[in-house]
């Protein structure tokens, strides 16, 4: 196990410098350079063709939608868009690379010199984006055998479905001045990128599926120094929470080495969800990728008219949108904070758009639906109810068709595939009984059955009505409006 320095002690001695490389898989219909479906989860090697298999003679052709997405991403990150740029070949041998070179961009990125503002605990940090460039993903290796790694595997299989998936790599400049907040700033930055990609609709941005990947670089400078330390690059960071945890760990590990008079080794570290990093490939000897301009592709030269037209289609900046919605919805800072923490902003927005009040939309998504999502171990958005259905359920409550308790049964029915909320109400017979005749009879029966309670109410002890309401609701199998039951009881015993 690595020796770790206490975080506060580390921060007393050193200033962390971050560098974040984020890969975003674009959700274009086809791959970067061929017509194969760009689809997650298909039968291995089924979405392949001569181009993405790198067969002799095959040639790439750029997916125009991928370029468009890249430009929109660049504009959202406040980048300049190149008037002319080229793809480059990054040459290295590896079985998951069908051509043994990756078609990427090198010294001529499509998007460059941008920034993203992130807020942590009321402080705003401006993260300078060096570049956002286009490249293709590699295939996926599956190693059979004890080690789970290529060396020592009994055999390895390659799935080239992912080969040629369009990627945008977003690279920050060194991020200084975050002090002890470095891990939180990194997390907030990646969250901001994720929100931006989602708002643009260009990617699924699912970290656990790898459609958003972050390599987190960090080095430590002694306090008061401005000489950059040796950095490590941590990979396999598959959630926002892990970014914060992995960086905290690396800072503590490096601080322990430096405080003990040692030197940090420049290397790739692998993050393990159990809460630690291990050494990966050593980067002491820099690989020579022999980049050169890709001769099989023509330069990309987006016209200014096109760029401006794309700029006009950009969605609202997610940070600005949060400020606006918080005000529009009239939530307290804490209530709104819970919405963000639950990743429910877009869901609530859509539910409100479908007719529900912000408070009721928040209540369902952060209450019953969050509980179901948690129990099922899925994301809130994947819980199985659409915002429109949530709004419909609330509409049934507002219209007095069901009460809150019955509404939960409606949701249960929708999740069980019994149809729309209205259909579930119909099929399960969940309608609140508002017929005063039936209710009145049930109330009379309850009063007759519990003369003690009735006497107390007559004496003005209104609290005793609870017991009678309970027995009426029980008799009505919950399908009664409790407020109306209470009114009837009080009327009859006044």
């Amino acid at each position: 196990m690595d020796e770790l320095l206490d975080y506060d002690e580390a921060m007393a001695l050193f200033d962390p410098v971050l560098g974040l490389e984020v890969h975003v898989e674009l959700n274009t219909a086809s791959k970067m350079f061929c017509g194969c479906a760009n689809h997650f989860g298909a039968e291995p090697n089924s979405n392949t063709c001569p181009v993405c298999l790198g067969l002799p003679g095959a040639l790439p052709a750029v997916n125009a939608t991928a370029i468009e997405s890249a430009i929109r991403i660049g504009l959202s990150l406040n980048c300049d868009i190149a008037t002319w740029c080229r793809f480059a070949r990054k040459n290295y041998f590896y079985p998951d690379m069908t051509k043994d070179f990756q078609t990427s961009q090198y010294d001529e990125p499509l998007c460059f010199e941008g920034h993203v503002d992130v807020e942590v605990d009321g402080r705003t940090f401006r993260i300078a984006v060096e570049r956002a460039h286009m490249e293709e993903d590699a295939g996926k290796l599956v190693h059979a055998g004890a080690s789970g790694r290529i060396h020592g595997a009994d055999y390895s299989l390659v799935d080239y479905n992912r080969a040629g998936t369009p990627l945008i790599e977003i690279v920050t400049k060194p991020v200084r001045g975050t002090g002890s907040m470095a891990p939180q700033v990194a997390k907030a930055y990646v969250a901001a990128l994720r929100d931006t990609m989602r708002a643009l609709g260009v990617s699924d941005v699912k970290m656990e599926q790898g459609s958003l990947r972050c390599d987190a670089n960090v080095s430590l400078m002694p306090k008061g120094s401005d000489v950059l330390g040796t950095r490590t690059e941590t990979k396999n960071v598959n959630s926002l929470r892990s970014i914060e945890a992995a960086l905290t760990y690396e800072i503590r590990r490096q601080a322990a080495i430096l405080a003990g008079g040692g030197r940090v080794k420049q290397e790739t570290r692998m993050w393990h969800e159990e809460g630690y990093t291990t050494a990966g490939r050593s980067k002491e000897e820099a690989e020579d990728y022999r980049y050169f301009p890709e001769p099989d592709l023509v330069p990309v030269a987006p016209s200014r008219e096109w760029v401006e037209q794309l700029r006009s289609t950009l969605p609202e900046n997610p940070a600005a949108k949060r400020v606006r919605l918080a005000a529009e919805w009239g939530m307290t800072e804490r209530e709104f904070g819970d919405v963000l923490a639950a990743d429910a902003l877009d869901l609530i927005e859509a539910t409100v758009a479908a007719g529900a009040s912000p408070a009721s939309a928040r209540k369902w998504w952060l209450g019953e639906l969050a509980r179901v999502a948690n129990a099922e171990g899925v994301e809130l958005a994947a819980v199985g109810l659409t915002p429109a259905q949530v709004a419909e359920v609330q509409g049934l409550v507002d219209g007095g068709v069901v009460n809150d308790k019955l509404a939960r049964q409606v949701i249960e029915g929708v999740l069980a595939g019994e149809g729309s909320p209205a259909e579930v109400v119909e099929r399960r017979g969940l309608k609140v009984v508002s017929d005063d005749g039936a209710l009145s009879a049930a109330v009379d029966a309850a009063i007759a059955a519990d003369p003690d309670a009735a006497a107390k109410i007559r004496d003005g002890k209104v609290a005793a009505a609870g017991a009678l309401i309970g027995s009426v609701m029980k008799a009505m199998r919950g399908q009664a409006d409790a407020g109306r039951v209470r009114e009837l009881i009080l009327e009859k015993l006044s």
Partner: protein, 527 residues
């Protein structure tokens, strides 16, 4: 009668097949028989499959019999350089590393040839991965020059040029990266055209150097080359570097051959020291022939052409080192050392060590070095600057003249083995042809006589501006008409009717086979 079929031009064969005087099967059979007769000596083909070719021919006959209108070359056999991917048919690129590989797809050019009703008659030998000027770098066999089987047929497309010159095919497909169509054409007295870069699709053509490679037509006459040019050229969305513009009117140009008022620039730097006297003599005579037909001849200087060879041997290997990386034993082709103990890197290394020949390895090593960190600017970067200067030389020259001309090669065909130990001497074969690859303009080689000192063919190179490929054919047709009038037939006719060419078995006792005389179907079947 078979000799008449074999000696006929592709356009004649196409016309007679279209008129149903001949069937595609008859014509294909005649050429398959010729391959059987002479290819043990010539060694032009790596793969011939009678059933495959005859099946194609039958389909064409059926379509024509059904009244379908196919192009002017329907039913005409064609030899295919083994660099073009042919679906389900072995494609080796002249290398052990691809031995036994069956491509699952066709090159765009192959699809076009098939759609036009041409019949593929075999896969032609080539230098491994098109690297060479003699076809001696083929991993499988050394092809002989039909004019003298102990000499080289040029390279890398020596199988294609030899097949044409030995009457084993009336047409062939080639690719030209530094002269691989034009130099073989020059040393075999055939016609070879490198279209404007981007004029022909490279999709499905196994890459040597992507920014230089260009497929093109090989033929025995200028018109035949033009007809094939029209079939294979044109925009292809599968190749990003393919030009989206109409194909120049090459067939019209080949039929007209009108050079009156055409300004022809002789490149001063491509001649003199190092050029064989017979090559220079025939080149000058050809200029006179063009002048007699009304062309204006001037001398033009292209001062940067002399740096072309050096820059080429940096850019080309750099691209080679990357393009050939994919031959790593993981997905197709040769696999060596997969014993369950070796690592994946070992298997890659052992396979590449065993599967690539020396010239391929030499270029991969040079290219890897030229692209290395710290050397990139000095080598690859400088070479790209030279490339720009060569293109500017062309641009400047084409403001003064309509086409540029030079000998296609400094010498005639050398003896097999003569330059194999001296790569630099071998590289000199492409001195005149490389500038057009560097600049991407159109260029061609046409026969212009036999050098008096050795009786071997000399090639006349014409270079035209980008997308002015038609000018090549205008000049080529004028040259062909003028020279053949003085020779009394083509150079290949002379070879066919000479004692030296007796082994080819195509003597007809007449200088030019008559066109109108119908060939009896029964005669054709006797072959």
């Amino acid at each position: 009668m078979s000799a008449k079929i074999l000696r006929a031009t592709a356009s004649e064969l196409g016309e007679r097949i279209a008129r149903r005087e001949l069937t595609a099967v008859e014509v294909t059979t005649a050429f398959l028989d010729q391959i059987e007769r002479v290819d043990d000596d010539v060694k032009a083909f790596l793969h011939v499959d009678r059933a495959w070719s005859l099946d194609q021919a039958r389909v064409v006959d059926a379509r024509l019999d059904a009244g379908e209108k196919l192009g002017p070359l329907a039913g005409v056999p064609i030899a295919v350089k083994d660099i073009f991917c042919t679906q389900g048919v072995p494609t080796t690129c002249g290398s052990k590393i691809l031995e036994g590989w069956l491509p699952p797809y066709n090159a765009t050019v192959i699809d076009r040839v098939r759609n036009a009703g041409l019949v593929m008659i075999g896969k032609a030998n080539m230098d491994e991965f098109a690297m060479g000027s003699s076809t001696e770098n083929s991993a499988f066999q050394v092809t002989g020059n039909p004019w003298d089987l102990e000499r080289i047929p040029g390279g890398s497309g020596g199988g294609s040029s030899a097949a044409l010159a030995s009457f084993q095919a009336p047409l062939a497909l080639g690719t030209d990266t530094g002269g691989s169509i034009r130099q073989p054409a020059a040393v075999t007295a055939t016609v070879g055209v490198k279209p404007t870069y981007g004029g022909t699709s490279r999709y499905g053509v196994i890459a040597m150097a992507s920014s230089l490679d260009q497929p093109g037509p090989c033929a025995r006459t200028v018109l035949d080359a033009a007809l094939l040019h029209e079939v294979i050229c044109g925009h292809d969305p599968m190749d990003s570097t393919s030009i989206d513009a109409p194909v120049p009117a090459v067939v019209d140009a080949a039929r007209s051959g009108d050079v009156r008022g055409l300004r022809i620039g002789v490149v001063k730097e491509l001649g003199g020291n190092g050029y064989a006297p017979g090559v220079e003599q025939r080149f000058r005579e050809a200029l006179d022939v063009l002048k007699a037909q009304g062309a204006e001849i001037v001398e033009v200087s292209c001062p940067h052409f002399k740096y072309g060879l050096g820059a080429y041997y940096l850019i080309m290997p750099s691209e080679v080192s990357s393009n050939l990386a994919r031959f790593d034993a993981m997905r197709y082709g040769l696999r060596v050392g997969d014993d369950g103990v070796n690592t994946v890197e070992d298997v890659m290394r052992l396979t590449r060590g065993a599967g690539f020949g020396d010239e391929v390895k030499r270029r991969i090593i040079i290219g890897t070095y030229a692209l290395s960190s710290g050397y990139y600017d000095a080598y690859y970067g400088s070479a790209q600057k030279v490339r720009r200067l060569i293109a500017e030389d062309f641009d400047a020259a084409f403001t003064q003249v309509d086409v540029l001309v030079s000998p296609s090669t400094p010498t005639t065909a050398f003896k097999q083995g003569e330059r194999t130990a001296d790569p630099l001497a071998m590289y000199m074969s492409d001195l005149c042809t490389i500038p057009s690859n560097m600049a991407g303009n159109a260029s061609a080689s046409f026969p212009c006589g036999l050098a008096p000192e050795d009786g071997l063919p000399v090639g006349f190179q014409v270079m035209a501006p980008v997308l002015a490929d038609d000018r090549l054919y205008r000049v080529g047709a004028a040259l062909e008409r003028g020279l053949e009038a003085s020779w009394g037939g083509s150079l290949l006719d002379q070879l066919a009717d000479s004692d030296a060419g007796a082994y080819l078995g195509v003597r007809t006792d007449v200088a030019t086979p008559p066109l109108a005389e119908p060939v009896e179907a029964s005669d054709a079947r006797e072959i």
